[in-house]
């Protein structure tokens, strides 16, 4: 109830204020929500966190990002919806900052992602995945699905897709199967996406792309920067904010907290 009330507000915001911060690049045809259960810390197996990842499918372009990032962006655009209390924490917690734009520009995948507070962007070829079909079939929520496997960014992935939904797309960068990906996970079960809902977009909403200034780079450099930060968060933070040196124990704590997220979805560039 609260959420839906708020979502209304958010969609209103997009219609009134979108041009300032985000540019429409396509019209949304379908919107899907995946539940993502992931293990942030490999040293604590079985300790899962949950997040939601959206998939907005347009005529030509599709976008995938976490629900909270989507909500946060919407709030930023809306400035303050008659809120008196500027000191309140009105922003949702964002665990994943990726925004994957498929076929934008044409024939490419553009990813926007953060390392700590810095926002990077890089492009990859559209044809990222080499899927191998298996003959295994199963029914998930009444939809006939078939299993396919691939190797991507250092993990082996198993996808269940449904040709009954002829949308060749999925969460994050995953796509390219002849039907919507209903469930996808890596063989270690570190990242597990499960489709929660998928439905046509009834409101006239657009696939939006950020207009903010980004740091252009390559995926290799991005993953290096991320690895670098995760391995030595203290050093990276210190270089940006030397006052932290006066608090060795809190620095150690931050480093420990960062070390609890040591399991990014992409382990290596191809």
């Amino acid at each position: 109830m609260k959420i839906s009330c708020f979502l209304l507000l958010v969609f209103f915001a997009i219609q009134t204020n979108a041009q300032d911060y985000l540019t429409p690049v396509d019209k949304i045809l379908f919107k899907g929500t995946y539940n993502l259960w992931y293990q942030p810390d490999t040293t604590r197996p079985g300790k899962y966190q949950r997040d939601k990842v959206l998939l907005q499918v347009g005529e030509n372009i599709s976008k995938s990002l976490s629900l909270n990032l989507f909500l946060r962006d919407s709030i930023i655009m809306h400035v303050e919806p008659s809120v008196i209390w500027s000191d309140m924490r009105i922003f949702p917690p964002v665990n994943f900052y990726f925004q994957v734009m498929k076929n934008h520009p044409q024939g490419k995948i553009t990813t926007v992602d953060n390392v700590f507070t810095d926002v990077y962007t890089y492009t990859e070829a559209f044809d990222l995945f080499d899927w191998v079909l298996t003959g295994e079939k199963d029914s998930i929520s009444g939809y006939a699905c078939q299993k396919a496997t691939t190797t991507f960014a250092g993990r082996d992935w198993i996808a269940w897709f449904s040709p009954e939904i002829p949308v060749s797309d999925g969460p994050y960068k995953f796509h390219g199967l002849p039907g919507l990906i209903i469930r996808i996970y890596d063989t270690d079960h570190h990242y597990n996406f499960d489709l929660e809902s998928f439905r046509p977009e009834e409101n006239q909403n657009n696939v939006l792309f950020t207009k903010r200034t980004l740091i252009p780079t390559t995926k290799k450099v991005f993953l290096e920067a991320l690895k670098h930060f995760l391995r030595n968060a203290a050093g990276s933070i210190l270089a940006g904010n030397e006052a932290m040196a006066e608090h060795p124990e809190s620095l150690e704590r931050i480093e420990r907290a960062v070390s609890m997220f040591n399991n990014p979805i992409e382990l290596k560039a191809e």
Binding site: V79, S82, M88, P178, T213, I215, N232, S236, R256
Partner: protein, 877 residues
Amino acid sequence: MRFSWFFCLFFLPLQALLGQITLEGRVVSTQGEALHNINILIYPPGSNVLIAFAVSDQQGRWRSTVNSAADSLDIEASSIHYRNERRRIANRSQSVVFELVYEVKELSTFTIKAPDIERRGDTLSYLVSSFAREHNRSIADVLQNMPGIEVEPSGRILYQGEPINRFYVEGLDLMGGRYGMVSRNMPHRSVAAVEIIENHQPIRILEERVPSYQAALNLKLKREITTTGTSKLGSGISPLLWDANITPMTFTKKFQVVNSYQANNAGQDAAKQLTALTLQDMRRSAGRPRENPEMLGIQTIAPPDFNESRYLDNNIHLLNSNALLRLSNDFQLRANLYYINDSQRQQGLTYRTLYSPADTLFFAESLENRLHDNYLQGEFTLNRNVKENYLDNKLRFNTRWDSRRGQLAINDEGLGQSLKHPFRNLSNDLRSIKPVGKHLVEFMSFVSYDHSPQQLQVSPGRFEQVLSPGGEVESLRQELDLKRFFADHSAGFTFGWKGISISPRLGFAYRNQSLESSLWQQQDEQWSVSSEAFSNELDGEHYRTYLQTDLSYRKNDLTLTAGLPLSWQHISLDDRRLQQGQQLSRTLFDPRLSADYRLSGFWRVRGSWSFSNSLGDMDGVHYGYILKNHRSLQQNAAPLSETKRHNLSAFVSYRNPITSFFNSLTYFYSISDYNLMYSNQVQADGTTILQALEMPNTGYSHNLTGQTSKYFSSAKSTVSFRASYSHNRRQSLLNQQLFETSNQFINLSPQINTRITEWLRGEYRANLSYIQTYIESNRSSNISMLRHFLDFHAFPRSGHYLGLTTEYYRHRNNEHVFVDLLYRYTIRKHRVDIEARWLNILNTDTYTTFQASAFSVVESTYILRPSQVFLSARFSF
């Protein structure tokens, strides 16, 4: 036969190879347009198990390889907007063209139920018994095991990686943000379930209007009454040292209590917890009278700017009690009480040098102070938090009674000083939110009254030349009584217009105070009141009506903010006895503008300008003289101080996170126009008569700070350098001479921070300061200070921490070296912390610092605590 087998074996792989065919083709619409994103599905004939597929590209082309033994294949084109088409083709490489017919399709909604823990609405419930492990003791231990919940070493609880916004026990919030005291000490066996309330907006009227993404945590208890607690005990030597903390608590569903007793003589200022608790919103407290009007004082020594446990010679006892009672009609009443009893001793030496164009005056003083303070504070909060409105009313009182004594030797002459400045304050702070039309309006009210009768006695008497020319004064006693009343009421809301968010707030503030003072002098063992010039009977009133409007505008990488506070103020001061007074009316506009722009991913610039008119505090005006401390007799019979100030600031930064190279440069400039000049009349014995005179003058201040740092990943080290320069110039009036003074301050600070091994971190930094004072462009003083710091932090194994800190100070010709050692062992399983500290290992006994102002330099030497060893343990019971 044999031959044919061989033939088969030979040709089988080839046959399979021959079985791999390539299908390719195009997909077009009936109008001949190329169609992209069309799924091409390839099945064995009559089957629904896919064996190959393709997706058409922008040109409508597709291509797929198929490996099948069947003699034919089923091929299907499937998409959102076109009718599916399925054909049977022969199993051989060929080109297949689909011409698809447009069709509007219904894509029915489908939902997959997420595998969830027991959920109802926004609340997630965890059964404690199913998550508790053998060695777990407190509820915080069990929280660690619950998926999605984490507990940081500080005790802070996170849900889905974000801190919770409320910690309730049976739906009641007793401790506010200091819930760690409860979570760490509540045995898990008392708790039936942990509830996580997602998206919890603690103010219920905002529930449907202001989204919250933080979760709250609620503990559901098993029993009606739960009693538990914790304790920490520590002891050390030279002299006997102790540090104790005992915290028992009781919870019921209608009534909750947490109590705490803390005491130490180990240099830990337990009273600090009090200030940390009352973290206030800066915007709300602006314009209020100073919290503690210390008009009179005994002379103290500037405390060293390092760890207080090296110098604070204390004996403190702190009692804290928190209780919450649930009343009918959704009202809650909460009481938080603190009592502090603190005795402190200060010892040291000061050397004061005063510079004027004509001569230089020098004074040496040694002193020993004993301070005994008692402080009692109570806060009663009445809260009603329902859907229709929000009300939060805090009634607060605080009272202090104290006695402070000091013995001074000035150029080898003794002087005694003693002060009593009890203080009583009562205040009420109300915040309420109500819907008015379509907006929510926030009302705020603050009312406060305080009374501080103060008494300072100095013997032998001073200022004989003005008080009793030719005669000798044995003692002086300044009596002062200040009563203040302050009320501030305002209402505000926020709305948006064309991308600009506008937050107006209209308010009215009123202040009324009375100051009475008289100076008594003892001559020939007879006390008599000094002449009228040394007394005050001043009434003051201050009215302030204000309209504060904040605007903010954001577009892409540019953020503009403006504050347009407008106020109408009227001040009247009237001294009945001295027949003096003043009236002042002002309309003040204090605009401020700032712009922030990101040029690219790496560069960022910021600039701001503000103009402020500040009226001085009424506490500063008095027509009669007041003996502020043993060496300062002050009169401020001038108009109220008014300062007009332009502030300009500029900031540019270059941050490249890819190369870990960070740089910034900040420049700050201000011009201040003052209407008053303070005349200092320094006597031969070091006492000063200070008078405010109406004499407009201008002060200038520049500050430039640059910083650069780089992280070298190969050496696992961060190297940084920081430099700052500031220059202040203004006029001074000393012994009837008007002259220009300027100060120059240069600070250089290099630093290197390195990770020597996985478990050892080292840090070195130095700090060089140069302070120069110029009188009429002649350098009158030049001070340099040099400090080196070398620290090692070791984490040899999980739960162990060893820290070694060394510091070297060189101020002029004084050298000081400090070495401290700290070892901490955390037995996580039993939640026991054992800590050993050896402070001031080299037993350094004094520390000297310098303070420079416009025309004076003060050198202070503080006597420190001796070397001490301290052992402590913390555990729950």
